[in-house]
Symmetry: C3
Subunit: 160 residues, 3 copies
Amino acid sequence: MDKPQKRMTLIVFSNDMDKAMAAFILATGAASAGMEVTMFFTFWGLALLRKKDYTTNKKSIIERMFGIMLPKGPEASVLSKMNFFGAGTSMMKGVMKSKKMPQLHDLMKMALSLDVTIVACTTSMNMMGFTRDELIDNIDVGGVATYLGKAQNSSINLFI
Amino acid sequence: MDKPQKRMTLIVFSNDMDKAMAAFILATGAASAGMEVTMFFTFWGLALLRKKDYTTNKKSIIERMFGIMLPKGPEASVLSKMNFFGAGTSMMKGVMKSKKMPQLHDLMKMALSLDVTIVACTTSMNMMGFTRDELIDNIDVGGVATYLGKAQNSSINLFI
Amino acid sequence: MDKPQKRMTLIVFSNDMDKAMAAFILATGAASAGMEVTMFFTFWGLALLRKKDYTTNKKSIIERMFGIMLPKGPEASVLSKMNFFGAGTSMMKGVMKSKKMPQLHDLMKMALSLDVTIVACTTSMNMMGFTRDELIDNIDVGGVATYLGKAQNSSINLFI
């Protein structure tokens, strides 16, 4: 294996727009610098990987509730603070646009094009009733063993 | 000492049920795979180590307020999001039960039986007025120096 | 370079008083033990580096709104839980005072006197419209590349 200095893993537990942005800024920065980056999306973070337009009628009532209550992908995620029922999040998005900074969904596309490995946590998928189909393409699925294997050989491991 | 690849430390700062579950899923997964795992419970996280039925009349008013406001152990902890005054947390616990997934208190027992080292932060104990007596058995106490010593020789260090 | 065991980096994403205290307790503890510590203040965490008494009339409306809504330095930061419109935070500060524990602004001063490197994130400064002038003295500014360079050669890297 390559030297661990060249590897980073990020556990993305949160689906807050601000924390997800921090995660993707780190991931794309590291991948651009030639590092091998793996992002594990778990618990609320899983919602960032949902397709915008997926619908199904095969879910239990509780699974449908999770489906309704959690954001569908990066464009629906909101700030962890100062959201003010969406006004703060809109304001932040407007600021980023006016300053020509990439939005969260841009950063996600950039990460995939830079070969960042994105892994959806199987335990969380099971818990919340999200199937592979309703998550975006070009990602892997895996559990805690997958994570530990990668993290043991990485110099930077963060929980976000 | 053993190779650092075989060691992990987790700082458990939060007492949210979801974050605590993530911590214990990582800890038990790593310990099952033969890693040496140390978990440091600090600040709000300390509440996860409280005994359910401990009472005392030797505390100051403020210490009693901390005692009343913080959850008593894992079964009293709630979700960081979608708690809805307890409804969301109950729903999540119901889902886990129906899917035969271990609950937080099961994961904690599992961690102890797998020899995960659990350390209560002495600074936080002092700040919140929690004595050794009111925390669960089979744990250690320690401060920042204890943490740093362990973390310097671990390949995975996370703050949760 | 020195051995990585002697280095730690902390990303301070949050400006919550409790999380910031955890960060500075770790930083001052590590620096006292001879470790080289770098703290990166990003997103909400940037507010911890604001000068208390800086004013300007050169900002856009949105930048002024960020200025008003975010705390000005450590003394204005509040707890992430049990804040109760300031009452919980005051109570916690009172407890720390009565137990002769250092407050957040004391810990920050201590960190600087122990040569902890404090870096303000340029991307966040740009996003929120904070200029170098309105942040405290004796700190550096830098982006994700600065962070990655440090973190790759540190044994402890945490996201707080």
